[in-house]
């Protein structure tokens, strides 16, 4: 109490900070630290460096063009056999293989034979096992995979690679998949945003200018899907759109298509597009509604009494006043769409996958966690940038929660 009297401004400040501190600590530990770990993982990969220290030290002095000296082969042979004993060979092989395709089998096969070999000289023996050991590209791949701190996951994520001479160049044609996928993700998000605006604007208008007692009821119709589980909504689209589903049945029943001509509406891009639009539509309607509600009807009547036609009054009076809502809704829908994972995974088939699905693929199937982390960081950076814009325009803390 005495301290508070000494400096009157400090006590409330301290109290406020103390109230926030527990949650701040909690969020930093349970959420920010994981993101930081991911960021670190995207540039840091010690597995190969830890397993092949001697080889990598010797390779550091290699000229990069000739076939390395005997000592390098000897070190690698020893370290590969040790890695196999310690059961890390698989991890090493797959990392080197990602830099230069085909090396996984070279490494595992050679190691098996090296284990039974009786001491050196190693150079001739290894080249005898596989001619890959005579190629500088093989040694470049080992050196590159051995970087403890590396930019290769990021290069990989934008379809680039480090060439043997140290410069950066494009990936071979068949491995350029991430930039097109990123383009597809942006295009789908843009399309879904446009469609949501087209569908959501009239509906928001209808709700905002309905009589007060009907407003709540209409708003409920938007909020029910908003609150319904994402998985439930995605499942219902599968049920509706599948070949033997309700929509196709109805089309056949009404004779629009015959039984063999059933449409493929799900497990492709159409499925992703329809389900995403459905799920994100409330995020467009709600901000539009809250802006439109504050526009007095009188404005339109005034414009009409001054001789404006309906279209002119809409274009010059109504539409400009709704722009904040249009901006907020579109930005929100776009941001959410970019990160969509569950819906494309379930209804997208192979053609309807987005960038988030690639993150999951590398997390769970290919186990290329460095690349998954790099893709995740890129996605996060893009989203944070858009949120920064959103915060400037609307204020994140005023985000509509329905």
């Amino acid at each position: 109490m005495d301290g508070a009297r000494a400096s009157p401004g400090r006590r409330p400040k301290l109290l406020a900070a103390l109230l926030v501190l527990p949650l701040l600590t909690f969020v930093v530990v349970t959420f920010i630290a994981p993101l930081a770990t991911m960021l670190f993982r995207s540039v840091h990969d010690p597995v190969v460096a830890d397993a092949l220290p001697e080889t990598l030290a010797l390779l550091a002095e290699w000229d990069g063009e000739s076939v390395p000296e005997e000592a390098v082969y000897g070190a690698l042979a020893r370290e590969l056999v040790r890695a196999q004993r310690e059961r890390t060979l698989g991890q090493i092989a797959s990392r080197i293989n990602r830099v230069e395709g085909g090396l996984r089998s070279v490494l595992t096969r050679s190691t098996r034979r090296l284990r039974d070999a009786e001491g050196g000289p190693w150079k001739g023996a290894m080249i005898g096992m596989d001619t890959a050991w005579a190629k500088p590209t093989t040694w470049h791949a080992i050196r590159s995979a051995g970087e403890r701190f590396t930019a290769r996951h990021y290069l990989n994520a934008i379809d680039l690679q480090r060439l043997p001479d140290g410069s950066v160049g494009p990936q071979p044609e068949e491995r350029r998949i991430y930039v097109p996928l990123l383009g597809r993700t942006l295009l789908v998000s843009l399309g879904v945003t446009g469609l949501c605006l087209l569908l959501g604007y009239p509906v928001a208008h209808l709700i905002a200018h309905a009589p007060a007692n009907r407003q709540n009821l209409l708003l409920m119709l938007v909020l029910v899907p908003f609150w319904t589980s994402l998985l439930v909504r995605t499942t219902s689209w599968i049920v509706l759109l599948q070949t033997q589903g309700v929509v196709n049945d109805a089309l056949v029943f009404f004779g629009l298509f015959d039984d063999d001509g059933r449409l493929a509406l799900v497990y492709n891009m159409i499925g992703t597009f329809v389900a995403m639009t459905h799920i994100l539509l409330p995020f467009m309607v709600l901000p539009l509604y809250s802006v439109m509600r504050s526009i007095p009807r009188l404005h339109m009547s005034a414009a009409a009494s001054l001789g404006a036609g309906r279209f002119q009054a809409f274009r010059r009076i109504y539409w400009p006043q709704t722009l904040p809502g249009v901006g907020a809704g579109s930005l929100l829908v776009f941001i959410l769409a970019i990160g969509f994972y569950i819906t494309p995974a379930l209804v997208g088939g192979s053609s309807g996958q987005l960038i988030a699905n690639m993150v999951a693929y590398h997390m769970q199937t290919s186990l290329n966690w460095g690349l998954a982390a790099a893709l995740g960081v890129i996605l996060l950076a893009g989203v944070l940038m858009l949120y920064w814009v959103y915060d400037r325009l609307v204020g994140v803390e005023r985000m509509s929660l329905g």
């Binding site: 109290l15 899907p225 049920v239 309700v246 999951a360 996605l379």
Partner: protein, 276 residues
Amino acid sequence: MAATSPADRVRGFVYLAFCAAVFVFLLAPILVIVPLSFNAQPYFTFTEGMLRFDPDAYSLRWYRQIMADEAWTGGLANSLIIGGSATALATGLGTLAALGLASPAMPARRFVTGLLISPLVTPVIVSAAGMFFFYSRLGLTQTHVGLILAHAAMGTPFVVITVTATLSGFNPNLTRAAASMGAGPLRIFRQVQLPLIVPGVLSGALFAFATSFDEVVVVLFMAGVEQRTIPRQMWAGVREQISPAILAVATLLIVFAVSLLLTVAWLRQRSGRRTA
């Protein structure tokens, strides 16, 4: 309004028809699932009997099946344990923080708010990947504790947002009046602030619970067989062999969502102002 011309009437009709179509688009997918979950046949479409409203075409067999299935009942237990604990944690911490953030004396408010909201704005796949990396180091993957912490982190922004919104409509003269009559800070909180923010706290808690109850990506990355929740079971069901039993679960989840929504609407009415 001037007398409506025929052209205006056509325009009005087109506008209403368009809006009606959008409402059908919004609700139909959800509503179609409900009757189909009573299908007596293992089909995902209306059988002839269902269209004739033949009572034999409807049955509760899928509901009986999920009630008897360990996978679903165990999933429900996990969902409730994880969701409940995460909500309690998120609500407690979030409410305290919102009280601090609402104080005009709060230092670095913008930055701190940004950090606290970050779990909401981060794409779930990114959160899940990061959490997997970090929690596996701490040995928290495949544990209930890990999932509770993860879901609590994802739920806190909702509590912070709803409680801050309730507090922003709060008249500071009330606390001043209480203080001038000799109430200490704790008493002011308990008797003046708390009753006013309760609806906001409860809405935030419901949002946090709904988030956990519907979350599947983090569960997918971090949960072992012992931690499978309802959404995780649904995911498996949709991915592998989609069975009408899923429609029964979906119907129950729709009922649950509608009751949550009505509760939040009621709370909002009680708090007397829109919080979002």
